[in-house]
Symmetry: C2
């Protein structure tokens, strides 16, 4: 099987305040975090939009990581900007500023060469836009999407219409509760799955993630990290590890492949938080990732 | 090695309100939950106090589970009573009533036959009282204690004096943060360990637990339970599983034994929450526990 992993999402300049430090206008956005994370496993195809202020430095990073940027549009105006501040526990944050800029009117059009993508990640975005993107892919074999509380609130019906078209939905624990009304996370995860997606991945931040299949639950605790510098992008990098390894393994979505993919996602998620933005992923390589995976495996063995 | 597991703690009548139902005056208390949980692995020795209102029914339960109650004192007055109400998410609760009754003036004296106990669990109580109990045990091989926010607040120095005498301290994630001032849980766990105990077990409720040793962290996610009826006693039952298996295995505190003990504790913790009070543990047996342990092991394998 000739595999190719497509991601459609945001590319942003992030300004981040944490208890430990501050950075301004670093490379961020769901598609950036996802594609760099996935690039350790496959050569992702990136679709997104940036403004005229987007520096060559970031394009060079994408190129160096083997990311196909032929779907990266440069539009008149400024790149999406986000500013946030993390609380002391690093698990909660306040969004201080959002300037959608060119991302606000972005209507993704897949380059013809991308329409045969086998693996698709629809990063967090409105479900109507996610659906329009998905319709441009001819015969996807594995379609995963992310969503958030905003869409559950404001475009619930569109989200419900999208769910049966998905192999996997990723969402936070609080969003699963919001979507289903179930307080118990195990019930909530299964209830989301009954809304359509074959698999549901419940993200619990520092507590890890859960994978819900038709007749099983697989739990991946977070890799214990003593050096959490910046949690921004951890969820998208986790997804990049999951989808990246799914694509790399070229297998159908069996339990064993999905579980190993979740473990890779966990490892990538534990790496990205050890630096601001993509700093830490820029300094890692596949041997370090595989080494941490083996350590993680041992950590869970009793 | 001739092993014997001693527990000193509370025995109570619990009245519990959950979103799913209400019970009044059922058997509760840390020593009850711990000793019944541990009884699937060994024959625990129970030290505690009850009032004249304590029914034979509960004594028969202890006896049926092979618990040695020769250290169970019946004092003039009423048994400790606790009343609590769980919130919708089952992770938080309000204490509505506490009547210490005979437990308020309890000064545990170990029966002579208990002073040779090899394994000791000092259930949640004031650190000065825990220290006095510990001094009555001649040559303990494994001493574990539980504590809570109240003692960290009000008897911090006494708690700090106790810690170096412990092989293991169990505490909640929020308590570890409170004790150390570290927001990151991995740092907090290691910081608690540096205060004296050889091992620290950080309890995270529905998110599982973490074991901190001199040079490793072992993570045990919770066993995913769709039927959480009543979380009361889960932490003490978890401890009962851990210490029960430690005693049963008759081994020194090696990583592999500790890890398997944590897994057993996780399984017992997942069982007790499936009914009010001790209802569910009354209906389980070692084959079911071992079956769930194997399922849990498979769930963590990738």
């Amino acid at each position: 099987m000739n595999v190719s992993l497509l991601v459609v999402g945001s590319i942003a300049f992030d300004s981040i305040e944490t208890p430990g430090g501050t950075v301004d206008n670093i490379l961020g956005g769901s598609a950036s975090h996802f594609s760099v994370a996935a690039s350790f496993f496959t050569k992702p195809r990136l679709v997104g939009v940036v403004g005229e202020d987007f520096p060559d430095e970031h394009r060079r990073l994408f190129a160096a990581r083997g990311i196909d940027t032929s779907g990266l549009v440069t539009a008149q105006g400024e790149t999406f900007r986000w500013k946030g501040r993390y609380h002391t526990d690093m698990n909660t944050r306040d969004t201080l500023e959002v300037h959608l800029n060119v991302f606000g009117t972005f209507e993704p059009v897949l380059p013809e060469a991308f329409r045969d993508s086998t693996h698709v990640f629809l990063a967090n975005g409105s479900p109507t836009l996610q659906a329009r993107v998905l319709s441009q892919v001819r015969q996807p074999k594995a379609v995963f999407a992310d969503t958030m509380d905003l869409w559950i609130d404001t475009q619930r019906n569109d989200l419900l219409a999208l769910l049966p078209r998905l192999d996997g939905l990723l969402l936070n624990d609080s969003e699963a509760r919001q979507l289903t009304g179930e307080a118990n996370l195990v019930r909530a995860g299964h209830a989301v799955r009954r809304l359509g997606p074959k698999f549901v991945i419940l993200k619990k931040g520092e507590h890890g993630a859960m994978l819900f299949s038709a007749d099983s639950v697989f739990v991946t605790p977070a890799y214990p990290s003593a050096d959490v510098i910046d949690p921004t992008g951890a969820g998208d990098a986790f997804a990049g590890g999951v989808l990246g390894h799914l694509a790399e393994s070229q297998a159908s979505l069996t339990q064993s492949v999905l579980r190993r993919s979740m473990a890779y996602g966990t490892v990538i998620g534990s790496l990205i938080v050890e630096g601001f933005g993509l700093d830490r992923l820029k300094r890692t390589d596949r041997p370090e990732i595989d080494g941490r995976l083996e350590h993680y495996r041992k950590m869970l063995t009793f």
